[in-house]
Structures are given as C-alpha cells and as structure tokens.
Symmetry: D2
C-alpha cells in the first residue's frame, strides 16, 4: 500500500520509515529538500519525495492517502491547500496535535467534497521508530478499515506488551496498538485525554521525587527557625540523603509505579543527576488544558489533572501577582514581613 | 478583675489596654522596660509592670490569672518557669499560636499541681485594639466562667456585627466574640482551623485577582506563539485592562465576597497598586500545615486548604526540583526544550 | 431618570424598588401580570408595567434604558426581540449572568444599529433590596456616565462599608458600589471572577468546618481499624465535640475570616444546626467553570478555585466511575477489597 | 543462605518461594499450620516451618535472619517478642508497611542489644512471585551487604526491564531491583513516597478515563438544563461513545502513559467492563497520608498527591457535611435550591 506524508520531520519521517521497512511504499512532501534526500538515502526506491505540493499529489496512487504531520498551528492551512488538489474518494489524515474541535469542523467541510478525513492522535515521541506509534483514530469506519495495512505497520504490534490476561484468539486492533475510537475528532479526543493523564502522572513522580530530594531537611536546617517559618517538630525524621537517580532505577523493576515515564526519568537522572541542564520552566502545548476544559464542560471532576496543569503555569512565574497579594494581606492583618530570598 | 500578662508586644499590650480601659486592672511582665513604661504612660495606675518574673507573680492577686502572649517557640519554656511560681487555684493561659498538641500535654502536667490551664486562640492581629479580639478557648468550664469579665472586655462585643437572624434575648458568649470550645487544646484547635480557612480564602482572592490582572493577555501577547506555547484561541476575549484595586473596592459593598480580608486587600492595593513592595515569597507559620495534618488524620477531604498551603510552598521556590524533573521528562520523550525565561 | 426593566422576578423587582424609592420612575415588562400588579401596589404611580413588549417599549422615554434581568438561558433571545423595537441612542443592559463572550458578540451586533449595549454583573442575591447591589459594568464610558443617577440608586452607597484608609475626598464610584470595568464584556468578566472567588471562599469554610465537625473522631471510633483502614495514631488528639454553629458565630466578630458568607453560614447553622434540610448535591451555574476556563486560556494558576469547582462536581456523584477504577486497580495489584458502606 | 520468615501469607510465602527456588533454604513461622504444610508441599525439604516462635528461632542458623511479613498493625508486638529470643549479631527485618517513624524507634531499641534492624519496603503485590519484589532498604550498610544473596533472589533482576541507556558494566543493585536507601527508616520512607506516587498516578488514569466515560454527555443529555445546571454550550463536541476498555488496551503499546498500572487497569476493564463489581469506596492504608504529612513537614508542594488522597476520602462520603454547608450557603445568599438526586 502507499502512504503520502506531508511533513518529514522526526515524527513524519519515522512513520514513513516504519511503513517502507514493512514492505509498503511512501511519497513525501516537505519544503526542505535535504529531509527528502536523507530519507531517500535511507529507504531507497520505495520512497520518493517532492518539495512541490501539486507534484507530490500527482505522485500518489488513487485513492490517495495523505497523512499531514506538521505543527498544529500550520495544519489547518495545509489541509485546506492539499484538499484543493484531492478528488472524491481520497483520504486526508491529521496525525498532529490539533484540538479535536478542528477535526469536527474539517470533516464537515471535506465530506461534501467526497474527501474522507481522519484524525489520528499519535503517541510515541522520539522513540516511535523503534517502539512503534500508538494510534488513536477518529473518522469513518470504512476508511479506517481500508488503511489497516498501513496502521498495522505504524503501530507497535502485539508483542510490544504481554497480552492482557483473558484475551485470546485473534487480537483486537487495540492489542496491536491502534484503535478506531469513533467519528471525526474521537482520535484527537482520546489523544488529548492521554496527554492530560500524562501531565498528572508526570506530576505524581515529580512531587514524590521532590520529597525524596529534600528528605535531609532536618539535617540541612541547622539554624533557628525565624518567626515567619514553621519550626520542624521532628528533625530526626528528616535525616536521609537519598540517591534519587538510584531510587528511580530500583522502582523500574517489580514496583507498582513501573512505567515508561519512569524509565525515561531514570535515564534523565542517570545522565544528569542534578538536572543542571534545566531551569524548571515547564511548557505545556495545549492538550492538558483542553482535557481540563472538557472535564469542566461535562462536569467531570479532575482535581489531579488540573493541579498538574497549574503547577506548570506556576513553574513559569505566573503565580507571582497572586503571591504578592498573599504577602500584602499577611502584612495588613498581622504585620508579617516577607522572608528574604534564600 | 485583674489580668496578669506575660509579653507586652503588640498583641499582649493591646489586650491589656482593652481590659484596663474597661475598668479592670492589669500587671505586666516583659524584658524590655520601655514597653512597660509606655503602657504605664498610656494606662496610668491601673497598670503596673515588672521585668522580673517572681516580682510580677508577687504583684498578682490570688487566684492569679497569667496570660502568656509571646511567640509560640518560647511559650513552653516560659509556662514551665512561671508554673514553678504559681499555686494551686491559679490560672495560666496560652494566648499564642501553639499547636494544640502542646496544650493537651501542658494541661496534663499542670492539673496535678492544681494549676488550671487554658488555651485561648486569639484572632484580630494588628487591629485587635479597636476591633476587639476573637477568642477561642479550651480548658475547664469553671475557669472560663470565672474569667468571664475579662474575656468580655477583650472580645469585640455584640455590636461588632449585626445579630444573626433568629437569635434573640441574651446573647451567647459567641455573639460577644468569645467561645469555650471544649477541653484543653480545643481553643487552639478551633483557631488552627480558623487559620486554615484563612489560607483558603486568601488564596481564592489571590487567584481570582491574578486572573483579572492578566485579563489583557490577548492584547499584550502580540507576537507568535512558539511550538512550546499554547496559542490563545480567542485573543478577542482577553482585551481587558482591569483596575484591580478599584475592583476590590467595589466588591466591598453589596457583593457576596465582601469580607474583612477583602477590606484589607483593598487597602493594600490602594496604598501600593502594583504591590512593588512585595517579592511574592509567602510565609506560613504552621496553622495551615496543622489543619491539613488534622484533616488527613481524621480522613476529611481538604483539597482547597491544601492547595492554598502548597501554593505558599511553591511561592518560596520549593517546586524547583519537581519542575526540573518535568522538563527533563518532556525532553526525554518528546525532544521538547524549555522556554527561555521571560 | 427612568428605568425600563424586563423581568420582574426577585432581582429585577428589587432593582426597580431601589430606583423608585430613590425618586426615579420605572417601567416594567413581565409575562406574569401578578408581578406587575404587586410592584404597582408597592410603588404607586412612579411604576408602570406591561405584559406586552411593544407596549412596554412605547412607555419608555427616549433615549430608552432597558435593563434585562431574566435567566441567562433566555436573555439572548429577549435582547434580540427588544432590539428590534429600539432606536439609535437607546441603551440595553444585560444584568443577568451571561457569559461575557455573549456580551462581546451582542455589542458587535447592536453597535452598527446605534444601540448601546452594557453588561452589568449584579451581585447581592436575595439581600439586594436592603444591602444594595454591587454592580460590575462593561460597555462604553459615555453611557455608563449617562446612567450614573440610576446606578447610584441601585448600588449600596458609601456607607455600606467603612472607608478604606487613605481614601479621602469625593468617593470613586467603586466606593459607592458600582464600577465601570472596561468595554463590552468587562462587567460580566469581573462578575465571573467574583463568583469564582466565591466558590473558593465557600469551599474554604466548608472544608474547615468539616474538620471541626469530625474533631471527635478519636472518641467516636471505638473499634479496631480493619486492614483497609488507616489506624488513627493519636486518638487522644481528636476528642473534641465542637459546637460548629457557635464557632461560626464567634468568628463573625474580630476574627480574620469574618465575612458576609460567614454571616450567612452562621445564620443557616443557627436555623438548622445539623443541615438536615440538605442532601449535599451542590449545583453550579457556570461562572465558576468559566473562571477556570479563563485561567487556563491565559495561563494563570487557579488550583484553589478549580479544587472548589471539582468538589461540587464530586458532590453530585460525578467521581463514581473514577472511584470504581481506583478500587479495581487496588484489587488488581494488591488483592485489596473495598470496605463495605458505613 | 538461610531466610527466616515470620508470616506465611501471600507476600511472605512468595518471598520464601523465590529464595528457595534460587537455591537457598528457608524456615517459616506462622500460626496456621496449613500455610506451612502447603509451602512444604510446594518447596520440599529446603523449607521447614513451625507454629511455635521459640522453635522457629531455634531452627535458624546464626547469625539469624528473621524477616517479619505481617500486617503493619501487628508488626511491632511481634518484633518485640522475637527480639527477646535473638542474640547479638542476629538480623531482624520489617518487610511490611510500617510507618518509617517506627523503624527509627525500633533500631534505637535493638541496637544496644547488638541486634541489627532493617526496614525493607517491599513492592510487588500479588504478582511478586513471578515479577520479583522491588526492595527499598533502610539500615546498616554492612548487614545489607551480608544479605545480598537473599536480596538478589527476591528482587526481579536485571532482565526485568531494559537497561537504562548509558548504564554499562556490572549493574548496580538498583538495576537488580533492590536498593540500600539509607539508615533505619530510609527503606520505608522511600516505599512510602512510592505509594504516594502510586496514588497520584492512579488518580491521573481514573480522572482521564472518567472523562472518556462521559464523552457522550452532549448526546446523552437530551432535555433542557434547569436554572441550577450549567448548560452545555457545545453539545456537538461531546457525542463520543468511547470504548474505555479498548482505549486502555491501545495505550499499553507505544504510548507515553504505558505502565504496569495501565496493564492492570486494562485487565480489570477487560474482565468487568462496567466495573459492576465495585462500589467506588476507595480505601487508603496510610502511606499516601504519610507522604503528604512528610511533604508538609519539610515544605515541599504536593498538590497532585494530596488531591489524589482527598479524592479517596471523598469517595467514602467524607465530604458530605462540607457539601451540605455549600448548599446551605447557596440557599442563603441566592435562594438556590438543591437539585434532586439523579
């Protein structure tokens, strides 16, 4: 089968690599000729590319399969452009991180033209080439079925995890690593919630490890506590000099909190035990926000996911005005003064 | 009636002022002679003081009433000292911010000696002289009753607030501003929870006003959003240049969030509209922590009070290691880089 | 000056009462003739009403001032209807609880017709008649100025609160209880955040009082703790039988947490000490959600306000599926069984 | 090497099985003869047991290694008992879920007698036999080293996870699944934080899946919204009928949130897709509480871990009084009535 890929950045290129290595062919579009050439050198004649969009479309077999894998901000315009060049029966896929609202609007626009639209939330990050990509798909069932050979090649496959007890016989596609989640937008909806969970789980590790990091507070704090500090009642309970990188390593084997995120954390702490490389300003790219927005819309409590989101905002200094207000109130009612910086 | 006061700082001195102005007499102990002289100059002969503890005790009528009003860290030792000088039937009061665990232990120690112990959580801050002090009392009912004339003078009195609908006839002591809450520790327990609530309410104002403060984000953010930022979908909704000090002022009249804390906030913002005086490192002096500890011990959910507490910790930079971990994870799985500082 | 009011429910009728009592005249529109007649009986000839919208409009002096005070769900349609009957120079006001997005859209629609649109977030609830209403206003400055005589009558006035220290001379309108917050939508934006803060402050009281309510847990829990319960390490610390209604009363005078919400809480607990009237399913009517949405849009941390919001969702059973998942996980990894219901 | 095990429940028996299968011998103490006989039948002559504590101790080679693996509530008394029977040089291990404070006290009590005390936080639950147990160890380095052959057999071993990139050569013990974390208490301290993280990660999944579970809210809510409900602005965005069990399955392969907890969740949802077996009353057995307590003591923010903890309290109905208070306040200021139950 043939895959057309718009955007040969890391994600797009690695998806192409997985399908071509699995016996399919691929055609790529990308502004940077160099990216095309590199992929050609890697994959040989089963991959061709173009820096010209109409030429790219012309290189595709019908019905055309066009997977768009570019930054979310640019996706809408590119889909509009390419849709002008497509014909009824063709399939266009947004594999990026669009908000699912956009998918619903795009499907409504493309369906009357006979063009099929799929949204495929794609997880796997920089490890997707070797691990395979987890695919969460929204759109019409018929097209998802049609694309099955490609999806199967992109996804990790059954062996990527031990089979869930009780599941036997032919695996479901979910067991292979891809799932048709529902109509337009359902793929990005599930991917959005996936990222929301990711924020919460990341924060759980970060908070816990921060406690371990400061477990020697009783030993470290030799001096007196000022009137504006809470004295530590039991310094004898906080005399531990914990090797946090080793703790993350030991938890990888046999513990309840073993996970891929923990694997990565252990790797990051092994490479840079004090995390000197980082300043602690944590970005967020939208999905965590949209997850909380969705929870609020439908009345579902999300205290953990929202706490994780807001901790990122705070890490970027966005609490400052609120904090100043608190200090101002404390001074107003109690005559308290702020502590000087550490 | 006569009140003995150990500690003539702002709180202790103002309590003395209220009782003497109401026709009682008072005796003060304090290391700084100057504080004693000032109070004497202010109150005349109905106040006497000493810088010598035994002399102070000797100046008191029996049964002696000794109110200790000094920083929590020093209270225990001073109570031990003065208890050595007291006799059966005397009353010693901790009016400071001790953890209520201490009260239980002290009462157990003093009761066998025939010395009565009361814990009186005292709210009112720097405004207590004019507003009166709100008193939350733990200890034996008989002693609370005995002290009634003094408590009545220290507390704000019935007119400090409109009477609660339905309450008629002789006011309860709660309506006068003091309450016997239960046995030893109950006063500080109620005061602890009072402060826990205070943290939550303060944070509610601070978070809300921070939103108003940044309500012009759509206008302020002229440039493009980078790949590591979430684009603002509707900049047209965030074009407001809100006068936050005036908003706090307007809410003081007729709104549901009118409160004394809001009065103080309006005052602070009027005096220093940009809060330039403050750095945003918010202290906490224990009660908020103990409130959450108590909630955890007895299995009561306290998501708001704990979020308020942890925001203070974060304001002091205590999230840094956790934040670095989040950035490290994001780089590990997604190749994301941190945003540079603002 | 003359006020036209659409909707003579409690809020609308009380606003009319305040302006007429202050020497203005008012015209009301309302489907229920009875509401009109009642107000007429109360206010005499300075109030007239109609159950017919065109007749109502015809009764108004030009430039007409039409204040719409009906449930948010119906406001949009009514404003559309009445706008058809208005002329350039007329003023239409939404005094209800619309989302501020709507205000921006309505102003855009009405401005080309020469009709002025104001959004006035109105706080005061069932007590507005006596306390006055706190008014947060969005729209054009000129119209706000024109309406000044009416706004002044509706708002509480300077004496409703002690003047903020430092403020002297002619009071600002904020000191009278009304504030022009900015262009269209600014009034409802500030009102929205006001309600968000209200959620947070309410939750702070509720959580704290819940701790007091259960402060006798050590005495109450006589039995053994099962393997699925956390034993209480220090039962001696939780032996308090706190009179929660009296505590809310004592905090009303002199304490840092004194507020109008506390006044109401004390009243509710005096009337129904065990709150038997309530089931604990807490509604939310939008503003708290929109406040958190806004915080998320502009990247402002709101951990306390969101925790308060989500607690309401949970109170309505919306955590159930999540809770079942937690129990399922605990059983899966640890063989733990759920505790039976209390 | 020889292991003495007190408590042959699931955890204790499986630890014994792992050491005996690896060529060591074991002696067990347990009140229920049946448990001993079963293990004997399974393991043959390399395992012996007794229902009599002195006999058990007499069966051990010196220096004796006594691992206590019983419910936390009973551990202290049993350690006291067995310590009476031990001699200088012997080693006693608490492998259960004691609070680390206890370890510090026990070590202080046993050290003067020449008895070595180790605390070994043991994770692995019901799967430990096949997966191996993750061991977090506190105590003297010399004893940890002495026990290395046993620890190595109990822990999962290097192959249980892919090696962390950059780690080469002889693996650290953490890479084998056991770690000496520090002096007495350090093992249970790290295990406590492990469980705290577990709470947070579990809640992240549960909240996210709850959103997916209710993603059809726009389709499901056909009727009008009452005045006490927030209308859903965009029902078209919530029309998804998500197959939550399949989503958990697809995330197991290639996604960022892949984890052992997710594996178990997928298993639980496959076995019981609607979780009918569960009532949603989520227990907590202490470690999550103690983790938050520790965070508070040392001033480390833990908003996510505490939100997860409090959600469990709420699942057991512990918010009820707070929720009633909120409803009472809403009625008081706004005349709002509670919604009837669903």
């Amino acid at each position: 089968m043939q895959l057309g890929m718009i955007g040969l950045g890391r994600m797009g290129a690695n998806i192409v690599r997985r399908v071509v290595r699995d016996g399919h062919t691929a055609v790529g579009y990308e502004r940077k000729l160099r990216n095309i050439e590199e992929l050609r050198a890697d994959l040989g004649e089963n991959f061709r590319g173009s820096t010209d969009l109409p030429e790219f479309v012309a290189m595709l077999e019908k019905p055309r399969v066009v997977w768009v894998m570019i930054p979310a901000g640019a996706t809408g315009a590119v889909i509009d452009q390419v849709a002008e060049l497509l014909e009824p029966g063709d399939i266009v896929i947004d594999g990026g991180n669009s908000r699912y609202h956009e998918d619903i609007k795009r499907a409504e626009k493309l369906t009357p033209k006979g063009i099929h639209y799929l949204d495929i939330g794609t997880s796997g990050g920089v490890f997707g080439l070797s691990r395979g990509f987890c695919l969460m798909i929204g759109g019409e069932a018929e097209q998802v079925k049609y694309l099955d050979p490609l999806l199967r090649s992109i996804a990790p496959g059954l062996d990527a995890a031990p089979r869930t007890p009780g599941r036997t016989g032919d695996p479901s596609t979910a067991e292979l690593g891809y799932l048709h989640c529902g109509p337009a937008g359902a793929g990005h909806f599930v991917k959005m919630v996936h990222n929301g969970i990711e924020y919460g789980a990341m924060a759980a590790y970060a908070e816990g490890l921060n406690i371990l990091h400061k477990a020697n507070f009783g030993a470290a704090h030799k001096g007196e506590f000022s009137a504006e500090e809470t004295p530590l009642e039991h310094p004898e309970y906080y005399q531990y000099d914990i090797d946090v990188p080793e703790v993350t390593e030991v938890w990888r084997r046999g513990s309840v909190v073993a996970s891929w995120l923990l694997d990565l954390t252990a790797g990051a702490l092994y490479a840079d035990p004090n995390l000197d490389e980082f300043g602690g300003r944590v970005s967020d790219s939208g999905e965590g926000r949209w997850t909380v927005d969705a929870a609020i819309d439908i009345g579902v409590p999300a205290p953990v996911l929202s706490a994780a989101l807001f901790a990122r905002f705070s890490s970027r200094g966005e609490s400052l005005y609120a904090d100043k207000l608190l200090s101002a109130m404390r001074q107003a009612f109690g005559g308290h003064y702020e502590l000087p910086p550490n």
